[in-house]
């Protein structure tokens, strides 16, 4: 998976990047998990709590990437939380992803699961 390798590379430069993987049952980021075990959290199917959990992480300056969640039902009571939906570019590349992450700062980013 292209995104996994890209994130493993970005993770080296952005030390506060945390990945929440909601995919069931196997995680989709083996490379990232191998490289940064403490920064990879597999929460299979736990959509209900994932956003608030990510909010807690971002309160400590983390950039949290939630994989497997789209903006549907993304209602949080904390309006001060930065949330952004990220989707793959038209050419299927994640090239500008690193710049986007850096620009956005401590926040929660949502990536819908690939079909």
């Amino acid at each position: 998976m292209m995104l996994d390798i890209k994130l493993a590379q970005i993770g080296l430069k952005i030390k506060n990047l945390v990945v929440l993987d909601l995919t069931f049952s196997q995680g989709k980021f083996p490379e990232f998990k191998r490289a940064y075990e403490s920064r990879y959290i597999h929460l299979p199917g736990r959509k209900e709590m994932a956003l608030a959990f990510a909010g807690g992480l971002s309160a400590f300056g983390k950039i949290v990437l939630i994989y497997g969640m789209d903006s549907e039902g993304c209602e949080v009571p904390d309006r001060t939380l930065n949330i952004k939906l990220v989707e793959e570019g038209p050419e299927g590349q994640w090239e500008i992803f690193e710049e986007e992450l850096k620009a956005f700062g401590p926040a929660v980013l949502l990536i819908p699961e690939e079909v």
Partner: protein, 250 residues
């Protein structure tokens, strides 16, 4: 009950009276748990690291109020502790108020957020703790148990959940939490300052698992004529009633 606990009761009830709505009974069940955290000391050192003059101090411990009904109690404690609060206080926890860490309007949301904070502390190897007050009814939500499960799986020993059980029932809290891998500390008297502080001290020492302080409390605790009477749960006391409570407490 010490003088500070009685004064705080009165101040919190006055806040509810000024706001015109609130859950007096459910708020009073939690007030001693919050007071014990903010004012508890061990050998002259705070058990909850915080600085009212610098609410955003980086080395502070975090208190997350998940039990929304207890907000006036938190405001009263913060005010007494020296935090500068705005004149108009919000109805829901809002982190724009100094000393309030999480904005929430939903049950169990604060708990999920507290687990995330404890996870961030673990990732960054920080020497801080997260304390989270939840009401027993909040544990009816699925997301609360998802968070409880994650906290145990990730061995978040910097997380201390304070369960305010003001509605006695037959739930086997100890067995439930222990089956998920939590440490449980049951308070014998959840309104006694020393007992509460001792509970927090033990929670701070727990390693490799999160801690739940199980506090069987009483609704409207400390107000003799209202104690454990459901009709006082959501009462807003009038000025005359507050005067009577003042005479009883001080």
């Amino acid at each position: 009950m010490n003088l500070r606990q009685r004064e705080l009761r009165l101040e919190a009830l006055e806040l509810i009276s000024r706001m015109g709505e609130g859950s007096s009974g459910r708020m009073l069940s939690s007030i001693d748990l919050i007071e014990g955290l903010y004012f508890g000391e061990e050998n002259g050192r705070q058990i909850f690291k915080h600085n009212p003059k610098l609410p955003q101090w980086e080395g502070r411990d975090y208190f997350v109020l998940s039990k929304i009904e207890a907000l006036p109690a938190l405001h009263a404690v913060l005010q007494k502790d020296g935090y500068t609060l705005p004149e108009v206080l919000p109805f829901f926890p809002n982190r724009k108020v100094p000393g309030v860490e999480v904005t929430t309007e939903e049950h169990a949301y604060g708990l999920c957020m507290a687990v995330g904070m404890a996870q961030a502390i673990q990732i960054s190897h920080l020497n801080q703790h997260v304390f989270c007050l939840v009401g027993d009814y909040e544990l009816d939500h699925g997301r609360a148990w998802e968070a409880i499960m994650v906290a145990a799986e990730r061995k978040l020993d910097r997380l201390c959940l304070v369960l305010d059980e003001n509605n006695p029932n037959d739930y086997l809290w100890q067995e439930r939490f222990e089956s998920f891998g939590w440490k449980v500390i049951k308070l014998r008297d959840a309104h006694d300052h020393d007992e509460i502080v001792y509970g927090y001290m033990k929670a701070r020492l727990t390693l490799r698992k999160p801690t739940c302080i199980w506090a069987p409390t009483k609704k409207s605790a400390g107000i003799p004529f209202a104690e454990r009477k459901p009709e006082y749960d959501d009462t807003v006391f009038s000025d005359a009633e507050l005067q009577e409570i003042r005479t009883l407490l001080l």
